[in-house]
């Protein structure tokens, strides 16, 4: 299809314009290059964050302090959370968006290619500030990724490095999101109406909207932390009439939508994979779009469920409990639609499908534990226990990260033009699934039994499950090395992929573009009927 007709003078211009060497990456305005950089950056950060999580699990392998001082443990735990959320998972999803959105809507690139590159290149400085904070006097911050004052206010220089890193990350996310929203709203190929968009594009459109709405709020919150630290303001200081609880409200007004920012693109990926391997259109397309929008809207009014123990009035607890429980309805609609898509399909279980099914099964477990936590009285006894840690790893690792893996296997042939080894891919799936459950399932028990989170050492009754969890974590991590080997082998010597590698996949990148996709796509805009 790429046989496009151009005036001769332009043609030369187009096809010789692929820059080489370092400057290709530094100055690029190509959505695929930028997408690749996002993905690689995310992978690198996942390795750093994974390394930190192994530090945590190694210390928790048995009672007593063995390898980390308590303050270093706190730094590891905090930076693990920050780096995984802001450095790994979010950028990886933006990488997917960059690669896929233009191809799926029939555009040649993102609406603002230069700004797109800036969004990416803001990440490394932020990452350097975060990672660098380990090496300054006093070490990295120790307040947990939620940055609650007054503990955060006690941080050393690293506190300021973190605040400014968050500002930069926020700028990056906002610009990236504006770019995505504009691209989707304005650069669709003729005939590509909103209700024909692949679901991945829809979920990203809504995610981008959430990001534009809440990243500035986070920036505002950390700005107030900064002025409290250095300029004598009293936003979060009762002595001056402020309130630490106020920070929590502002943070979670950002923070809860943030967790849907992490899960919605994952929903999008899964909504592409399941129909492809069921050989049947997604069930209830319109209701999927409405459900996603409802989740996004509800996400703005549930933040208080992170704060049931701050001593809010009963009316507040009731409101936030009801609102939070409501989110189960649209999420349920999505789960049911996925299963109905498989119903009366013609299923095969290639690697991406396995990941999607693993996602479905375990994300739903995470959703249910979320519902348990939403029940205020139950949350009173589980808040800040390992039950919460189990809950959010089921949603963010078995949820978001499983979708990422599925998406990587799904689009890898399109991106690189090479096939990976299916057996290796499946092995990676089972390896990760077992490791994951071994690591995080016991944490439910730890939480129920009352083990608080964010502690470097624990009472003896928690010893067995912690040991199992730590063994699981190392097993899990080893599986990811196998993942990288699998991809590397494929990259070096994989079999060539077909243009439409998955017979059931029907979005534009499969039906209208070759594998691998040429450097410039859709130089003539495809027209859809």
């Amino acid at each position: 299809m790429s046989a496009t007709t151009h005036p001769a003078d332009h043609a030369a211009d187009h096809h010789d314009h692929k820059p080489y060497g370092l400057s290709r990456w530094l100055f690029t305005t190509n959505h695929k290059d930028i997408g690749t950089m996002y993905l690689l950056f995310g992978l690198l950060m996942a390795i750093v964050g994974g390394f930190l999580s192994l530090g945590i699990r190694a210390e928790l392998f048995m009672p007593g302090l063995q390898i980390l001082q308590p303050e270093t443990f706190n730094s590891f735990m905090t930076l693990h959370g920050l780096i995984m959320v802001f450095g790994a998972v979010m950028p990886v999803f933006v990488g997917f968006a960059n690669w896929l959105i233009p191809m799926q809507i029939g555009a040649a690139d993102m609406a603002f290619p230069r700004m797109n590159n800036w969004s990416f290149w803001l990440l490394p400085p932020a990452a350097i500030l975060l990672a660098g904070s380990f090496f300054v006097e006093g070490g990295a911050i120790q307040s947990g990724w939620t940055l609650y004052p007054p503990l955060f206010t006690q941080s050393g220089i690293s506190g300021d490095m973190t605040i400014l890193a968050v500002h930069i990350l926020g700028a990056s996310s906002i610009m990236g999101s504006i770019n995505i929203v504009t691209t989707v709203l304005n650069l669709r190929a003729p005939g590509m109406t909103l209700m024909k968009l692949p679901l991945f594009v829809w979920t990203w459109l809504i995610t981008a909207y959430l990001l534009i709405a809440v990243m500035p709020v986070l920036a505002g919150a950390v700005t107030m932390l900064l002025t409290d630290r250095h300029f004598g303001t009293s936003f979060f200081n009762a002595a001056g009439g402020g309130d630490p609880t106020m920070f929590m409200h502002i943070f979670w007004f950002f923070g809860h939508p943030e967790v849907y920012i992490i899960i919605l693109p994952a929903f999008g990926i899964v909504s592409q994979i399941i129909p492809a391997f069921s050989r049947k259109p997604l069930f209830g397309y319109a209701s999927m779009v409405y459900a996603t929008s409802s989740i996004a809207i509800l996400s703005f009014i549930v933040w208080g469920h992170h704060m049931f123990t701050v001593g809010m009035p009963a009316a507040g607890q009731l409101f936030f409990m009801y609102a939070t429980m409501l989110i189960a309805v649209p999420t349920g609609v999505k789960v049911f639609n996925w299963i109905a898509t498989m119903w009366r399909g013609s299923l095969t279980f290639e690697t991406p499908m396995l990941w999607a099914l693993g996602f479905l099964f375990m994300f739903t477990m995470g959703g249910f534990t979320g519902l348990v936590l939403a029940i205020t009285p139950v949350d009173i006894t589980l808040h800040n226990s390992y039950y919460v840690v189990a809950h959010f790893h089921y949603t963010m690792v078995a949820g978001a990260s499983f979708a990422i893996f599925g998406g990587v296997y799904f689009w890898w042939p399109k991106w690189t033009g090479k096939m990976y080894n299916e057996s290796f891919g499946k092995l990676h799936f089972w390896w990760t699934t077992i490791g994951f459950n071994l690591t995080f399932f016991p944490q439910h028990f730890l939480g129920l039994a009352g083990m608080p989170r964010r502690i470097p050492d624990y009472a003896l009754q928690f010893a067995e499950w912690n040991m199992i969890s730590s063994i699981g974590a190392f097993f899990l991590a080893a599986g990811q090395i196998f993942f990288m080997i699998t991809l590397w082998l494929s990259y070096k010597s994989g079999a060539p992929a077909k243009d439409r590698q998955w017979e059931g996949a029907d979005s534009l990148e499969w039906t209208h573009l070759p594998s691998p996709v040429p450097y410039h796509t859709f130089e003539t805009v495809p027209v859809l009927k």
């Binding site: 109905a340 459950n437 009352g450 079999a495």
Partner: protein, 414 residues
């Protein structure tokens, strides 16, 4: 699960593939095994449940959790029953043909929107009544003010006039340090034992007024159904009414810095008669500090009794000051007086204020420094403050050579 793609390095041969297939199968079996094993009730020796409730609210919570859990498991089994059914029934390898027209049904969508909604209402009703019960802290029999410190608790009995500190009793020798193994065997209550537990009467409604002196803490005792942040500058309340005598354990639930994991809570519930006896004893052991009767510091330094007008020697003060320092100051300023930059705790060793005029140091000891984590220590007695001031002026590299007398503190308090 046969690999249908002829990729370039299938040259690795059939053997390798078969091994992988076997490994895969083994993995999937192992997965089921792991899931199975984890849910075996035979593992009851390991803790897998919320601790046995000791208050009515905690029992409600306990039951509520089971109720929600069971409903969720039922839904889960139903939903994933359908998924596994599809997985086995609608396989391409079994010749399943896709029914491409089955992709839209408003009726079905409405059904699976409404049913969950109804289930949620059924969950919300008991939860609501528990919340309302939980929040009703009116008419307490006893009120205790709970103050979180980095890293310990203070309990102030409002009616009985008893106030004391409660902190970790497990010796550090049981904990060990990175690279330095623990030298003592760990006891059964490792990290859960405190020097002075909170004591309460059974069957009485105890209201807690929870706050903090520095950062956020969380007063968390699962068996009592209480988990409440202590927020500096604010009083937040909670309550419990223990039904049977016993010892209930918990920990600080909100990260509060370095020793967050070492901030346990113990509540001992006694019969009202035993409680009264305890109050009597406690009144002498830890009376609330007033101008005339000084408080006792967290670590017992009961020997430090001030005789009005007595002039203390440098050695006496320094010796007494050391234990006061390690109980109150060392967490931040460190035992070696070098401070902790991570917490913005200044070094006292060589500090111009510590080695400067007495008045300057005393003012800070009493009032603290606004907008920092250095709070005032006016709750300590004159002699204790005198001792700790003298100690810091004459320890490590500090060689001021003078003493701070209780009388200096007394006059500075005005």
């Amino acid at each position: 699960m046969i690999n249908k793609h002829k990729n370039g390095w299938a040259r690795a041969g059939r053997i390798a593939k078969r091994t992988l297939a076997v490994a895969e199968l083994a993995m999937s079996k192992l997965f089921l095994l792991v899931i199975g094993a984890l849910s075996l009730p035979a593992l009851a020796a390991y803790d897998v449940d919320i601790p046995p409730p000791a208050t009515a609210i905690a029992s409600e919570i306990y039951n509520l959790h089971y109720y929600i859990l069971i409903v969720c498991v039922v839904i889960f089994v139903a939903v994933f029953g359908a998924m596994f059914y599809s997985i086995f029934k609608f396989r391409k390898s079994q010749g399943a043909k896709p029914d491409v027209n089955f992709h839209e049904s408003t009726l079905i969508e409405i059904i699976w929107t409404v049913i969950p909604f109804i289930i949620l209402i059924a969950m919300a009703i008991p939860a609501t009544s528990t919340i309302l019960a939980m929040k009703d802290s009116s008419n307490p029999d006893l009120t205790i003010k709970v103050v979180g410190y980095q890293w310990g608790w203070q309990y102030e009995y409002q009616q009985d006039g008893v106030s004391f500190y409660s902190s970790l009793a497990t010796p550090w020798a049981q904990v060990g340090q990175p690279g330095v193994p623990a030298t003592e065997a760990r006891g059964p209550n490792y990290l859960l034992e405190v020097d002075n537990p909170m004591v309460v009467p059974v069957g009485k409604k105890v209201r807690l007024l929870i706050t903090s002196n520095d950062v956020l803490h969380g007063w968390y005792v699962p068996a009592l159904g209480v988990n409440q942040y202590g927020i500096p500058g604010f009083i937040k309340d909670s309550w419990f009414k223990v039904e049977k005598a016993g010892t209930y354990k918990g920990q600080c639930s909100q990260i509060c810095g370095k020793l967050h994991g070492f901030m346990p809570i113990t509540v001992v519930a006694k019969s009202p008669a035993d409680y009264d006896a305890w109050v009597k004893e406690a009144k002498t052991k830890f009376a609330i500090p007033t101008a005339d009767s000084p408080a006792v510091a967290p670590v017992a330094v009961a020997t430090l009794v001030d005789e009005p007008g007595k002039k203390w020697t440098l050695d006496e003060l320094k010796k007494a000051g050391e234990s006061i320092y390690s109980a109150n100051c060392a967490a931040c300023h460190q035992a070696d007086g070098k401070g902790n930059p991570a917490m913005k705790a200044k070094a006292l060793d060589g500090s111009p204020i510590v080695t400067g005029p007495k008045a300057g140091q005393i003012a800070i000891l009493l009032k603290g420094r606004p907008n920092t984590q250095m709070g005032g220590f006016d709750r300590l007695s004159d002699v204790e403050l005198a001792a700790v001031a003298t100690y810091s002026r004459n320890s490590w590299g500090n060689k001021v050579g003078d003493t701070v007398q209780p009388a200096d503190i007394k006059s500075a308090r005005k």
